[in-house]
Subunit: 336 residues, 2 copies
Amino acid sequence: MRATLSDVAAQAGVSRQTVSNAINTPRIVHPATLERVMAAVDALGYSPNLHARRLRTSSARTIGVRLEPVADGVHGVLLDRFLHAVTEQAARLDRHVLVFTADDADDEVATIRSLAQRSLADAFVLTSTDHRDRRVDALADSGIPFVAFGRPWDEGAAPHAWVDVDGRAGTREATEACLAIGDRVAFLGWPDGSGAGDERRGGWRDAMEAAGMPANLDRAVEDDPAEAQDAVAELLAAGATAIVCASDTLALGAIGALSRADAAVPVVGFDDTGVAAGLGFSSVDQSLGDVAAAVLGLLHGEPDHRLVTPRLHRRAHPRWGLPAQRSAAADGKDAS
Amino acid sequence: MRATLSDVAAQAGVSRQTVSNAINTPRIVHPATLERVMAAVDALGYSPNLHARRLRTSSARTIGVRLEPVADGVHGVLLDRFLHAVTEQAARLDRHVLVFTADDADDEVATIRSLAQRSLADAFVLTSTDHRDRRVDALADSGIPFVAFGRPWDEGAAPHAWVDVDGRAGTREATEACLAIGDRVAFLGWPDGSGAGDERRGGWRDAMEAAGMPANLDRAVEDDPAEAQDAVAELLAAGATAIVCASDTLALGAIGALSRADAAVPVVGFDDTGVAAGLGFSSVDQSLGDVAAAVLGLLHGEPDHRLVTPRLHRRAHPRWGLPAQRSAAADGKDAS
DNA sequence: TACGGTGCTTGGAACGATCAAATGGATCGA
DNA sequence: TCGATCCATTTGATCGTTCCAAGCACCGTA
């Protein structure tokens, strides 16, 4: 049987409560006693019974995260990595992670309410927040602690904690890296209206203007490799010598267009998924570890926010013949 | 405040224990009383305090699942989908899912032991089991309930519950579908020695031999699109008119080779990941929902096993010009 | 000497459920 | 009529922790 507080207390010759204090509020117990108690804890291999603690305190020190239905693979991988990072950070803070599924936003809110009320989880992470996200208001009203991964795209939203990746900075770095070696950098993104997409386009535009280059090679398509392929063919015809994309999915299509045209043009994706690793093109890495750490940091404080700067993962692949890419990698950080 | 057992008992005019029985062992309470109790439960919106229950019973009705580090994206997506399916099935059985990370197999075993001993989770799912998997023996020795996703590839392993996908049946179906329309079906797989890879190659060989075709167009490369591309170029040169692959990653490379060669040859992948959806090639779907259901079914029974038959997800994509693919889709299920 | 304060420790109660044993009736055969 | 058996329900104890109010030394000050 596992040792209990009383066992440790007996071993150390003190009361239960003193052991409890030694563990939870060490500063209020006498140093000598503390040492004796800790010795007993080690000797018995004691670790507190979390169920008992949770019953008493009605808090679970557990974070609830919804597993989204994996629609397209690329997005899925991203959230998977995020979940991994959150779980790792949570363990570091002696917290657990409970996952759940939900059919839609309303169902998610209902499930979160249920989990929170039964204190199976006492804080939540919202992913894929979008324009006028009703989950945000619902949870804020209920007073349930949460952090959104994704900035509030409209001003009307209730003030809340959020963390987001600075997509603008990401594409800016990617564009600057291309500018440092090539000249005519094109952007392949999504149609206007998606907050994240507009930000990413903005980063490219910023970098082009800062370099005094015309930001005129620009196409917008749905997040689909086939559409991307056509668009890139046009961009190449228009004289593009480097392609910065809003996602790895688009980059995948771009690579396809290049291989058809036998062109050696650097392509940079976004998200740094397995596709980028597999095909060996550079991609902007969202540094989800940093995001997760920021999320955990905000979970139990005031409504606040963090903007995490992504990093360009420069990659040279011998096969796909992207000399520009290779030299960028060799250059190190002199781009910018 | 939330209603407790005593509240319900008072409302229904019975004792705590009777309410407890009504909820946990309804058959031993008098029908009339049961009805009265349930009415009270509804009226008060009662739901049991799980922490109290867990403290008393020291069981959590929770399944522990390790989040693997996402090395390559394709594999990652697969486990993500599996986790989603497990969580969904678990909810159906009124169970929760706790996730955790671990650095390696030993760390995983240690973490599982810790979670099990503190009864934070009382059953576990092992993923990516491989040859001579030490986790299996360690957990079997400790008497910790678990189900492996992946069959035991060696005979020496301790008897345990497992579920696996019948990869052989999957590539067999894929090959038969290609045979029904093309003639010379090639296989692109992994080097000998990986159990799953050998099975998948076996399915192709089975189908070829059953059709009286020579099974001689066969290449083995690492799971890398670039290598796959070269191999497929050779296969095409050798007269292949259809390519069945052991993974979507390989299929991705195959598609690349086709687009270079401008060949309209059906390619079939394995895992049905986002890449397959994005590029529009057919792929064998592991039906992870079925796998998850099987896993949950085995979690609390005797050591047993299930082999889930995957299904070919036939897909016709207008862009990639794969007429064979398209007609296969139209044929429906006449490809045996 | 008495008194209030501070630092550390203590025992009892409570969190909300289940377990184990006891109770009170009804039914039935001897 | 009595005891045995069964059914439905109740009572008291318990799981292992934290909360709470009180206890006890010891100190400096009046």
